[in-house]
Symmetry: C2
Subunit: 93 residues, 2 copies
């Protein structure tokens, strides 16, 4: 979860994930949505891939990126437990 | 959310939040649960406080730390939207 949380701490990487929520995309298609260099997008995609937040699928000359929700499910579970149990102060008496 | 995700990327900080899920605690009580120095715990608490994941309440000579679930609720909402909408590949046809 360390890698996933770290990966999510960057707004560009969260935006990439939001794009992939709608469609699987190539690195080129992703970089068209940003005003930053392709190598920089490639770097962000590597971080997301290492954190297992995106999957890469080589199709011919292209690599297609898609969302991998498994790591996000772990984060959801961990966070839900806090929000669910977080009203202890209200229920203390 | 950048700060919150960054703060959560460290296992010691996640463990601190887990301790605070059960009880509000002083920095001293928190540091008793770890094999790391008090200044180091204090550093982690500052990061959690800056990320608005914990609240500080000065009571006499002590500062009591408690969980602030607001930032976690934002993360929960953001993540839920992915997991909820993440089965597009299954529903594509």
């Amino acid at each position: 979860m360390n890698k996933a949380f770290k990966a999510l701490s960057d707004p560009t990487r969260r935006k990439i994930l939001e794009l992939l929520k709608d469609n699987d995309l190539t690195a080129g298609e992703i970089s068209e949505c940003f005003n930053i260099s392709k190598p920089s997008i490639s770097h962000h995609l590597n971080i997301l891939s290492n954190a297992e937040l995106v999957l890469r699928d080589k199709q011919g000359q292209h690599v297609i990126y898609s969302l991998n929700t498994t790591a996000l499910q772990d984060i959801l579970k961990w966070t839900f437990d806090f929000v669910e149990g977080g009203n202890k102060n209200e229920n203390k008496n």
